[in-house]
Symmetry: C2
Subunit: 126 residues, 2 copies
C-alpha cells in the first residue's frame, strides 16, 4: 500500500476487470487512494461521518445527490461528496475514477447490498 | 472551500500565475485538495507528521528523496511522500500538479524560506 515508487493510476485502472469494485492503490495519512471502473447505476447510500472525493480519469460520471442538483464530472474534474449526503453514482458509459476516502469508509455506507465490497476485498492485490 | 459543484482542476490550474504557490481548491475530511504550477527546483524540506500526495496533471515532475532514488512522475501518476522523508520537487519544464495534504501541513515543512507560502496565502481566492 505504501508504494515505494510512483503509482500509475492509468495502469492500475487497466488491470481492473470488474465494475464497481474499488481497489486500494495507495494511502495518504489516514485516507486510501483507490481506483474503480464504473458502468451503469450504483446504489443510493451515505457515509455518515466521511467525505468522499471522486476524480474522473476517463469518461463522464453523474453523481446524483439527495435534495440537490446532480453533479456531472468530466475527465479531470473532482467532486467531494460531503459526509452524510445520500448519493448515487451513475455512468451511462464506462467511466474510470480515482477515489480518496478514509480507511474506515464503507463502500455502500450505512447499508450492505450484494454490490458491497469489503475493505479487505478492496485491499486484495489487483 | 467546500465546493457545491464539480472542481475543474484544469481550470483552477489555468488561473494560477505564480510558480510554487499552491492554492486550495477543495477539502476531503481533514485534508486539502490543492493545485500548483511548478518550474525549476524547490527547496529540500520534510513534513515530520504528514504524508503528502502529488498527482501530476501536466508535464513531468522529479521528486528527489533523501537516502533513496528519485521518483519521476508523468501526467496521471501519483506519489505519496511519506511523513518525515526529506524531499525536493524539481521540474525542468513547467509542470502542473494536484496535491492532497492535511490542513495543517506546512508548505516547506519544518523550515521557513522566502519560497514559503502560508496556509492563509494558499486559501486566498484565485
Amino acid at each position: 500500500m505504501d508504494a515505494a515508487g510512483p503509482i500509475s493510476i492509468r495502469a492500475a485502472l487497466d488491470s481492473l476487470t470488474d465494475h464497481w469494485s474499488p481497489k486500494v492503490v495507495g494511502r495518504v495519512n489516514d485516507q486510501y487512494v483507490k481506483v474503480a471502473k464504473l458502468l451503469g447505476e450504483f446504489v443510493w447510500h451515505a457515509h455518515d461521518d466521511d467525505d468522499e472525493l471522486f476524480q474522473v480519469i476517463y469518461g463522464t460520471l453523474v453523481i446524483q445527490l439527495e435534495d440537490r442538483a446532480d453533479v456531472t464530472l468530466e475527465a479531470g474534474d473532482v467532486f467531494v461528496v460531503p459526509k452524510g449526503v445520500r448519493h448515487n453514482p451513475v455512468a451511462d458509459e464506462e467511466c474510470h475514477i480515482m477515489l480518496i476516502e478514509r480507511q474506515t469508509t464503507l463502500h455502500t455506507g450505512t447499508q450492505t447490498t450484494d454490490r458491497t465490497r469489503s475493505i479487505a476485498e478492496q485491499l486484495r492485490p489487483l
